[in-house]
């Protein structure tokens, strides 16, 4: 799949921008703060319904305006799709699919992206939350249905935590039936779907990540991924049902502690995935270069996994400011590892940072305008 045109209205620092783009590698160059990241953020938003740098959608609407519009034409084989999202400062967002009303939350079914950014170092060095986000974004891209499971889980967790905080006072209820049981049930039912999907992802990602690591580091350091769950599961594949039962059992036997602490201590919101090289955990052991290689391999491995199983074909790769962070050999190896993807967006402050082989369609970005650079 590839983007064949983008139109922005009042998105970030763009009042109005329209560009058409070809297959291959699109390079956006310009000084700091001109709008390079803003442009790729717009594309990435349609695929993930989120932003890699802010959690509030209103930050994406141009200052002083009421609404931002992102319109993207996609080409997949000979099929054409038009996605349009309107983000409103007030009231709900609107979406159109091929010019008829649609639901924004269905857009990830039509467009998939894999974003590489300097912040990816946090996948290795950061807290478990950044690794969970990595897993969960991929899970949604693989299985869009999981998107509502994840948001329901978040909400069930909030509901249950609220109840735990007040549990001591509110337990005498109609028919003496504990409402905590009901939320345990919701939490475990939703949570086990997430746990099983993460297990499946980590298992399927192992091969592609190992291959990606070797191509980027130029050496085999035996990279591995291992889920670290707060609810212990029997070894091997667990069904959703078995996982739900295990989850419920843990909640049951730890209820007193959870009531005392007033929070949910078990479940996918407490889980982590551990990365290792040559059997040593990357966190605390890996060198700076190895850390970069692993972070890039996670993204590249994800991209190759999606390519292998998605009906959408290749995901769109986005490399935001990545080359500036890498040494010459990693740059070249990354360039050749991504070069066979159908479409790649690259941003860089200076064109010299981008390996020559990738300089196919170069655009200059300046103060919210985009122009094709002359060769």
């Amino acid at each position: 799949m590839r983007v064949s045109s983008i139109s922005l209205r009042d998105f970030r620092n763009y009042a109005e921008a329209d560009i058409t783009i070809e297959q291959g590698c699109v390079v956006l160059v310009g000084s700091n703060g001109q709008g390079k990241t803003n442009l790729i953020e717009a594309i990435n938003f349609l695929a993930t319904l989120g932003s890699h740098r802010s959690s509030t959608e209103s930050a994406m609407i141009r200052t002083g305006e009421d609404a931002a519009i992102i319109r993207v034409h996609l080409a997949h084989d000979d099929r054409q799709i038009l996605l349009e999202a309107q983000l409103n400062r007030e009231g709900p967002n609107k979406a159109q699919f091929n010019r008829s009303t649609a639901r924004l939350r269905d857009f990830p079914r039509y467009i998939a992206t894999v974003l590489f950014a300097p912040e990816d170092l946090l996948l290795i060095r950061g807290d478990p939350a950044s690794r969970r986000r990595f897993l969960d974004e991929l899970i949604v891209t693989r299985t869009p249905r999981l998107s509502s499971i994840l948001s329901d889980y978040e909400r069930a967790l909030k509901q249950r935590n609220t109840l735990l905080k007040t549990a001591r006072f509110s337990e005498a209820s109609v028919g003496k039936l504990s409402t905590l049981d009901i939320w345990d049930d919701r939490l475990a039912t939703l949570g086990s779907e997430i746990m099983v999907e993460r297990q499946r992802l980590v298992r399927d990602l192992a091969g592609p990540v190992a291959a990606a690591y070797e191509s980027i580091a130029g050496a085999d350091h035996h990279p591995e991924l291992l889920m670290k769950e707060s609810v212990l599961l029997p070894l091997g594949d667990s069904t959703i049902d078995q996982t739900t039962q295990a989850f419920l059992a843990v909640l049951n036997s730890n209820r007193a502690t959870e009531v005392e602490r007033g929070m949910t201590l078990y479940g996918p919101h407490r889980d982590d995935v551990e990365f290792s090289l040559n059997s040593l955990p990357t966190k605390g052991y890996a060198s700076h270069g190895e850390t970069w290689s692993f972070a890039l391999s996670l993204r590249l491995g994800a991209a190759r996994l999606l390519r292998a199983e998605s009906v959408l074909g290749d995901p769109i790769l986005i490399l935001d400011d990545v080359f500036a962070e890498l040494d010459a050999s990693r740059r070249e190896r990354l360039a050749s590892a991504v070069s066979d993807f159908e479409q790649i967006f690259i941003t860089a402050a200076v064109v010299e940072d981008v390996p020559a082989a990738l300089l196919q369609h170069v655009f200059r970005v300046e103060r919210g305008t985009i122009a094709r650079a002359l060769k």
Binding site: D66, S148, A156, Q159, T162, V174, L177, T179, D181, I182
Partner: protein, 198 residues
């Protein structure tokens, strides 16, 4: 900020559900500037609705009498009760003409965040209605979202001790949605395909 009472009007309107500051401002100026707009009529309807409308003593639906027109209708099937969250859900289900029994309006769904537990809903009243063995089927038609599902699970467990068939509307309703927004056909189908949960 506008002066005095104009701002007060905007603030009051802004407190209504679904109305943000901009819409509140638009409505306020419509009221101020449109000559044909009958302000006293709106004001009197607002006062009247509070005075006259109350909740049916049996089912919790809105009515101007002690009991609602559905509860007073002798042609309805007394052996089944459909449990919904809000009065507006009764309207949505009535439109499908699939259901001939009575309703029970809970007045919301279980939601600790909003401070709503089973005791804040009309669950005790439901148990009272079920006590005399007339009702043979309870259809749980809470919203197909997290809180609706939690409430449905709660009711299912509570009712499992009684000798009553409990069913839940078939899925196919848009997940994460509100019952009232489901179109008639979808909602009608959900009724036909309801499944026994206890």
């Amino acid at each position: 900020m506008y002066e005095g009472i104009v701002q007060e009007l905007i603030d009051e309107l802004g407190r209504l559900p679904g109305i943000g500051p901009k819409s509140a401002q638009r409505i306020a100026f419509h009221i101020l500037q449109t000559e044909s707009f009958d302000v006293s009529r709106l004001a009197s309807v607002l006062v009247e609705v509070r005075e006259k409308v109350r909740f049916c003593e049996i089912c919790g639906n809105v009515t101007q009498e002690v009991t609602c027109s559905i509860c007073r209708d002798p042609r309805r099937d007394a052996t089944s009760i459909c449990v919904v969250e809000e009065a507006k859900d009764v309207v949505a289900i009535e439109r499908t003409r699939e259901f001939k029994g009575f309703y029970h309006v809970l007045g919301g769904a279980i939601s600790p965040i909003d401070g709503i537990g089973p005791d804040n809903l009309r669950i005790r009243q439901l148990m009272t209605r079920l006590a005399d063995n007339t009702v043979q089927e309870v259809i749980i038609a809470t919203d197909p979202n997290l809180e609706g599902e939690a409430t449905a699970t709660y009711l299912t467990r509570l009712l499992s001790s009684l000798e009553i068939k409990v069913t839940r509307l078939a899925s196919g309703l848009p997940v994460g949605g509100d019952l009232e927004y489901a179109d008639e056909v979808t909602l009608g189908r959900a009724f036909e395909g309801r499944r026994t949960v206890s």
